[in-house]
């Protein structure tokens, strides 16, 4: 097979051949190749189809700027839309082109080229409006052809996220970045330097330059070796600084960490200072058919011959408006490529540029008006820049350079300003918004000497040391005359290759009134997607400027967004997948619950709790019914550990509790507890719970499980902002006091069987009482509260003792038929009793009166949180939704949340069903609802309107069971 591989040269290992497959063809490259360089070496020129028009495309760049050849990797490397220029070749790599079917050579989508004039920019905004864009979106996305995400995660390895801190983060390990790292590293700063390429050196890898009189790559190696010896320096290659957030917080995507179990690592770096040494990206020239395979950025052609030992063509034409392409022409010539001519749009070519290519024909004041050839460039048409006779030159490679755009993406992400520089005809970093600076080509220092000097200066400034000596270097002076587009020719001239945006598209946007660059971007999609304006952005702005006759500095740029280059979702997510994708909390009984067949799920605040304990052959409903009967008729026990619990201490606790609760707490005597409601400052219920007074200045306050953290913040906010002088300390003890709650008419029997030194008689330990002592020999606090409506003993112990206590309860309770119950049965029991539940009846709209808890609103206290808001709200005439009970008629379940509408008709709702459960006590479905003026509507029939039917329900008081509360007080 003919090859474009040079016999010598490049940074590849010819002793390590690698086999790979591209679009089904088996090919071979070498270690050190990218997929792109290996394809070019194998003379694969047609590598892709364009996004919209499905025009044939080839490889255009050599690095992250590649806008054309996106590939999908298969097998172990499965990933989508990877620029072929950034895919390191490995043995067995399998890749295929995107945007084409069945292949780039024969692509059915190419029919779009025939209808291209009917599908200009924005056509879909105008065309696919009825009945809605989303009807068409799937088909259009499929037609666009970008690769899908891998169907399954990698079989081996995982992603990692880690935090890092440094005094100085340097983005880019080119000459400026390395110089800065070396200077600051020697001075002892904690330096992190990250570079997107697989090896350090930046542009020095692609060019033939010297530093200190020897090849520049020798200097690179010496610096890299020295950095490796400095313990204060972290040097990452194949690691892109892809995002710059606030407070010098940056993201670095390391694609090949040295830990073999890692697929990728994402660093979250907090840096004291940042140096942007991100180099510059060559911009394209805009002329007819500037997207044909074989039309390549000049710097890319230079990279392929110098770094990869690949000739991207045999006979080249170089088209430029600046000096840098002359060095390219010299390198192409040295690599054995015939450079047919240099077409320079400038009429005056600097002599120092000409001297590099004395044997090459330089046509100054000329432009390429178009490329010839469809699947591969076969020649170019050239003409004088100001018009005149054209002629053609045969070639198979057109290397073009429209100048250099400093890679200001990171700088822009940091919110630093940009300014337009007339000399460089591009935008440069200006005012910093954070502690950052830019060096080298990023800052417009385009020669090697300037890059080294600016890097050293920035490193020295960061370290607070004097400027070190700079090694000597020689480089061609950079000079450019802008050429925003070649106006001759009728063929499509592309501004944004990746998004298929042409000059005509921008003109159309301007004609339709989208004359701001941000609007042009959105109308045309130019600069969007993976490309993020790397090659086309400035040309688009230049085209707008030309058309409007406005200077570029007045137009400004669009916003550069992160990520600078694509980042795997896995790298962003890190370890957080599978079992840890969401946080979870366990109680000391979780293992017991699982072992005993509990069906576990999260039930608030990330606690995984047993929903129910099914026995063999039982349905869900049968299990819940059984557990309910056990509690109503015998005795059950549940794990109440997650209940939010706080210890309050201080002289002012009483008045603080009086402020946050609606009822009076300060009058409680030590040894007693009281139920209370807490309101927000707008008078709505935010939580309920029980306060226990341990002693004069010590209290225990319980909150709902789900709101424990929020209530803790609530307490602290009040104490720190409104009552900073009050003597109140709050300590979270949720996980210091776990509890097993024994409930049911036989609960006292089980307590006695367990053995306790606490007098548990109704007189000594009444409802809402508590006492400290021992239960089953374990130090415990016994609390008489009830969430089921039955006689209950909440046995609170230290978590380390809970498993032992639980085992003893199960043993002591066995003669009484005790059984564990889950959250589902608890829910049924509290609905029967009409107890409120946050998230159900307390839905963020109700106050205590709505729930029939007006008795809890103190009339004696002059003020408390939410009091006046409740009064103001209730002084109006708005109908309130009030808590009622419902009995579905006929007897059936009504889904929670079902709307109640007048007559069941399609009208504004008058309430909703908050809960509906099967009551074993009544042997029927019972429920709770919030209903407009519900307290005065007992006995009425309301209707729940469902999607497919209407269910009637009789309105009742909300307490379906033991309205007098005799059982829980027993």
């Amino acid at each position: 097979m003919p090859s474009n591989r040079m016999d010598t040269g490049g940074r590849i290992d010819r002793d390590r051949p690698l086999n790979f497959t591209f679009n089904g063809r088996r090919l071979q490259g070498f270690a050190g190749d990218t997929l792109a360089s290996a394809l070019l070496a194998n003379r694969v020129r047609l590598t892709a189809r364009s996004f919209k028009y499905h025009r044939p495309r080839g490889i255009i760049g050599a690095g992250v700027e590649e806008p054309s050849t996106l590939v999908e990797l298969l097998g172990d490397d499965a990933s989508g839309n990877r620029p072929a220029t950034t895919v390191p070749l490995r043995d067995g790599l399998i890749a295929k082109s995107v945007n084409c079917w069945p292949s780039p050579g024969f692509d059915l989508g190419a029919i779009n080229q025939l209808i291209g004039r009917f599908i200009p920019a924005g056509f879909y905004y105008k065309t696919f409006k009825w009945p809605g864009w989303h009807l068409y979106e799937p088909t259009i996305r499929k037609a666009a052809g970008l690769a899908a995400a891998p169907a399954a995660p990698p079989e081996q390895g995982h992603f990692e996220n880690r935090f890092a801190h440094c005094d100085l983060l340097i983005a880019g390990a080119g000459p400026a970045g390395l110089m800065a790292a070396s200077t600051a590293g020697r001075a002892g700063l904690r330096v992190m330097i990250a570079d997107e390429a697989t090896e350090a050196g930046g542009s020095l890898l692609n060019r033939r330059l010297t530093i200190g009189g020897t090849p520049a790559l020798g200097w690179v190696k010496a610096v890299v070796d020295e950095l490796a010896t400095l313990p204060n320096v972290t040097h990452l290659q194949n690691a892109t600084v892809w995002a710059y957030r606030e407070h010098n917080y940056l993201m670095v995507n390391e694609r090949a960490p040295d830990n073999p179990s890692l697929l990728e690592r994402n660093w979250r770096v907090r840096a004291g200072q940042v140096i942007c040494a991100t180099g510059a990206i060559e911009r394209m020239l805009v002329f007819g058919n500037n997207d044909r395979p074989g039309v390549m950025l000049a710097s890319a052609a230079q990279t392929y011959v110098n770094r990869y030992g690949v000739r991207p063509g045999q006979r080249a034409v170089v088209f430029t408006n600046n000096n840098s392409a002359y060095a390219v022409a010299a390198d192409l010539t040295a690599a054995g490529i015939t450079v047919a001519a240099i077409i320079d749009s400038r009429t005056d070519v600097p002599e120092e540029a000409r001297t590099l290519v004395e044997d090459v024909d330089v046509l100054a004041g000329h432009v390429v008006t178009g490329a010839r050839g469809a699947r591969q460039v076969r020649g170019v048409t050239i003409a004088p820049v100001d018009g005149g006779a054209s002629r053609q030159i045969t070639c198979d490679l057109l290397a073009h350079s429209g100048g250099w755009n400093p890679a200001v993406h990171l700088w822009s992400q940091s919110r630093g300003n940009l300014r337009y520089d007339d000399t460089l005809t591009s935008f440069l970093p200006d005012q910093a918004a954070q502690d950052a600076t830019s060096v080298g080509a990023t800052n417009g220092q385009m020669t090697l000497a300037d890059a080294l000097g600016s890097g050293a200066r920035a490193g020295a400034d960061a370290a607070g040391i004097t400027m070190p000596d700079i090694p000597t270097s020689a480089d061609l002076i950079y000079a450019v005359t802008p050429l925003w587009r070649v106006e001759q020719g009728r063929d499509k001239a592309f501004l944004d290759i990746q998004n298929d945006v042409t000059v005509d598209d921008v003109h159309l946007a301007l004609r339709e009134g989208y004359d701001n660059v941000e609007h042009v971007k959105r109308y045309t999609t130019g600069g969007m997607g993976i490309d993020q304006g790397k090659t086309g952005n400035i040309n688009i702005i230049g085209t707008v400027a030309m058309q409007q006759g406005a200077p570029l500095e007045e137009l400004g740029t669009t916003t550069f967004r992160s990520p600078y280059t694509p980042v795997s979702f896995g790298a962003i997510g890190g370890l957080r997948e599978d079992s840890v994708v969401l946080p979870y909390r366990h109680t000391p009984l979780t293992a017991w619950n699982i072992k005993n067949g509990a069906f576990m799920y999260e039930s608030g605040a990330r606690w995984r709790r047993p929903g129910y304990f099914p026995q063999p052959g039982e349905s869900f409903q049968e299990t819940v019914n059984r557990e309910c009967r056990i509690v109503r008729n015998g005795v059950g026990v549940y794990d109440g550990s997650p209940l939010g619990t706080f210890e309050f201490k201080g002289r002012d606790v009483g008045r603080f509790l009086d402020h946050i609760y609606t009822n009076i707490m300060s009058t409680l005597k030590p040894g007693h507890g009281r139920y209370g409601l807490m309101l927000s400052d707008d008078g709505l219920i935010i939580d309920d719970g029980v306060a226990l007074r341990l002693s004069e200045h010590r209290w225990i306050v319980s909150t709902s499980t789900g709101h424990a953290d929020a209530m803790n913040s609530h307490f602290e906010e009040l104490l720190q902002t409104q009552f900073p002088d009050w003597n109140v300390f709050v300590t979270t003890v949720t996980s210091q006091w776990n509890n097993a709650t024994i409930c049911g008419p036989l609960a006292r029997d089980v307590m006695q069987a367990l053995g306790t030194d606490i007098d548990i008689s109704p007189a000594a330990l009444p409802f809402m009482g508590f006492a400290d002592g021992h239960v089953a020999g374990i130090p415990a606090r016994l609390v008489r509260v009830s969430f089921t409506g039955e006689l209950s003993f909440e046995v609170n112990v230290a978590p380390r003792h809970l498993p032992a206590l639980w085992d003893k309860i199960m043993t002591a309770g066995a003669p009484f038929g005790i059984a564990p119950i889950g959250s589902e049965a608890n829910h049924v029991l509290r609905v029967e009793k009409g107890f409120l539940s946050l998230g159900h009846e307390v839905d963020g709209t109700v106050d205590p009166y709505d729930l029939g808890l007006g008795w809890a609103m103190s009339k004696k206290k002059t003020d408390y949180l939410g009091k006046h808001a409740v009064a103001i709200r209730r002084s109006g005439t708005t109908n309130r939704r009030e808590l009622v009970g419902i009995l579905p008629e006929p007897d059936q379940m009504i889904p929670e949340g079902a709307p109640l509408t007048p007559g069941g008709e399609r009208k504004p709702t008058e309430g909703l069903v908050t809960a509906c459960v099967y009551s074993t006590v009544h042997d029927r479905w019972v429920g709770l609802a919030l209903l407009e003026n519900g307290h005065s509507r007992h006995g009425e029939t309301v209707r729940a309107r469902l999607k497919d039917k209407v269910i009637a329900a009789r309105v009742t008081p909300p307490i379906h069971y033991d309205a007098a509360g005799e059982r829980l007080r027993s």
Binding site: H158, E160, N161, R162, F163, A164, H165, R190, N259, P260, S261, R268, R270, G574, L575, S579, V580, P583, Y584, R585, H586, T587, T590, W607, S641, P642, E647, K649, G650, R651, L694, S695, E696, H697, R698, N727, F729, T731, T732, V733, T734, S735, Q736, N738, A798, P799, R800
Partner: protein, 164 residues
């Protein structure tokens, strides 16, 4: 294990949450080590660590075998209202991460700067560990990191994944 670390889930410590002015706390309980001056540092005395975690906020840590003795000495229930002493031994689960790569493993979960120059041998601080509030301090050859006890299994899960 590709990180050279040892990860141990430690048994329960005797822990006490102390709040209030240091002078009042010191006056109430003479078993306490000297109160550290710089915030986010700890002092050690006779096997008892006193961690200065915030304004008027301290965590006392000792071996669990000393819990009863410390309760007797600290008398939480009798302490004057100007201070708060609460036993919180069961609220935190400690993980000990030691070995050459301990700092690397810590950096996966903890955003704190744990470099020697920023987090010295007597440093202690509340921070985060895998997104959870965590108490972090140094130990011989590595770090101790404590999270709310109920999250212990999840953190063990995370650490297992991190070092797999």
């Amino acid at each position: 294990m590709l990180y050279d670390v040892q990860i141990d889930r430690l048994p329960c410590f005797a822990l006490f949450d102390l709040k209030g002015p240091a002078t009042d706390l010191a006056a109430w309980a003479d078993v306490l080590p000297a109160f550290a001056k710089p915030a986010n540092t700890l002092t050690r005395q006779n096997g008892v660590d006193l961690c200065f975690t915030g304004p008027d906020r301290w965590i006392l840590r000792a071996d669990i075998a000393r819990e009863d003795a410390l309760i007797a000495a600290l008398r939480p229930e009798k302490a004057p209202p100007e201070i708060s002493i609460t036993r919180v031994s069961d609220t935190l689960t400690f993980f000990r991460i030691t070995g050459p790569d301990a700092a690397q493993v810590m950096s996966i979960g903890c955003p704190l700067d744990l470099h020697d120059s920023a987090f010295g041998p007597d440093a202690v601080s509340y921070s985060e560990f895998f997104g959870l509030k965590a108490l972090v301090m140094r130990c011989e050859g590595g770090f101790d990191c404590a999270v709310e006890q109920s999250f212990g299994d999840m953190v063990a899960d995370y650490l297992s994944r991190a070092t797999a």
